[in-house]
Amino acid sequence: MYRILIVPAGLAALLALACYAIFVIAPQEVTMGDTQRIVYLHVAVAWCGLAGCIVMGATAAAYLARRAPAWDHWSQAAGELGWLCTTLTLATGSLWAHEAWNTWWTWEPRLTASLILWIIFAGYFLVRSSIDDPERRARLSAVLAILAVADVPLIIMATRWFRGIHPITPQMDPRMRLVLLISVACFTAFFATLIAVRRRQLDLIAHTTNLENASLT
């Protein structure tokens, strides 16, 4: 009974800590006021989206090397959470852009590269849903997951390689920097836990399907 409650309680505590840091510890920014607090969520989910993509690619490579279905489940779980985080990144970025730059969207290099990553994630799930054979699905989607990682350096280096409006090394108040670190740490732990839970769920689904198939034959 208690074990069932540990994960949701831990996740709620992480979110509560992040919210406390963002809304209480962080000082109010002079120019943008409270709207600036979006950045603590935006940076955290952007980092989680990129990390999700890297984990998806790394576990896909592990699947191609070992051929253990568990690696494919890790890859799928990381992809799903990476996609969710990239969606949140685009949404929070758009809100920020409306307040800071007076536009909902601009074809800025990092924004464009992030949108491309979002579409690649969507394509990854389309491929997965198009293949019934689990082995073939895992193999082909692993190849695609590794290709998707090629977009990550573009997002990270976009502001250095191309002229964009994202800051390269933003100057921040030490308390703001601390809150940003707390937020990134909390959301990373939050999404890592969700990936682990989802991976466990996918393992159980595969196990149940195998049992059903065995009972039919």
């Binding site: 191609l64 464009t112 491309i116 579409i119 690649i120 969507a122 394509g123 389309l126 491929v127 198009s130 293949i131 073939r136 193999r139 082909l140 692993a142 190849v143 695609l144 590794i146 290709l147 998707a148 090629a150 977009d151 573009l154 390689w161």
Partner: protein, 228 residues
């Protein structure tokens, strides 16, 4: 040295096979070229701008036209092998999967070169844009972009070949994966037309990196796609 010669000879035979089949029974190349012409006409008719402003948009639009016309070839790149059950026979020959990948990449590269051979003069005449004013750098952009597009296109085409929603999946996957190449090629062309060779060279360097990365990834991952 001998092994490199054998590798190149085998690849050239595989390329020869694909080109000969297309020559004997043209299936996709005429459609691709016609689609390229129609798209370029449609683009040209929509742009009513002075010549100097037209140069700023045509570089990017040209690459979009090339990309969408080229997807016709991509759709059928591996279909010949699948439709006529040639795939198993091909795999029985003493050729490595790397050779097959490189041969398909070369066919893709040649298809892109064919579209460009038609579209570049057509756009120069129709839109009055001096695409060949700096022929050397422009050809370098074409080669680097073609290599990047062909590398990623060959890989994705083999990946989607035989899937239920192949045609739609192919475009959905290729466009985002190849978008750094399409954007880079467009920007390099626009910078070159705008008289900014330094910026164009920077984009060309980036295109070369993309091409090298995608060819490397293709050689590495192709064997995992072609297993059955």
């Amino acid at each position: 040295m001998n092994s490199i010669t054998n590798f190149a000879r085998t690849c050239s035979w595989l390329v020869h096979k694909d080109l000969l089949r297309e020559l004997r029974a043209p299936r996709v190349w005429p459609t691709m070229l016609l689609l390229g012409m129609i798209l370029s006409l449609a683009v040209e008719m929509q742009i009513e701008l002075p010549r100097d402003q037209k140069q700023k948009v045509l570089g990017g639009l040209m690459w979009l036209v090339i990309f969408f016309a080229w997807t016709v070839v991509l759709n059928r790149l591996f279909a010949g092998e699948r439709d006529e059950s040639c795939w198993q026979a091909l795999l029985l020959y003493p050729v490595t999967l790397g050779m097959i990948y490189l041969a398909k990449l070369v066919v893709n590269f040649l298809a892109l070169a064919a579209i460009e051979a038609l579209l570049v003069p057509a756009l120069m005449i129709l839109a009055d844009v001096p695409l060949l004013a700096r022929a050397g750098p422009f050809l370098a952009i074409l080669v680097a972009a073609n290599l990047g597009l062909a590398a990623v296109g060959t890989l994705v085409s083999s990946l989607t070949s035989g899937l239920t929603r192949q045609a739609s999946l192919l475009v959905v996957l290729v466009l985002p994966l190849a978008s750094p190449v399409v954007i880079g090629a467009g920007q390099a062309t626009v910078a070159l037309l705008g008289g900014d060779p330094t910026s164009s060279f920077r984009w060309l360097q980036l295109l070369s990196v993309f091409a090298a990365v995608f060819v490397g990834l293709g050689l590495l991952l192709f064997e995992f796609i072609i297993e059955e």
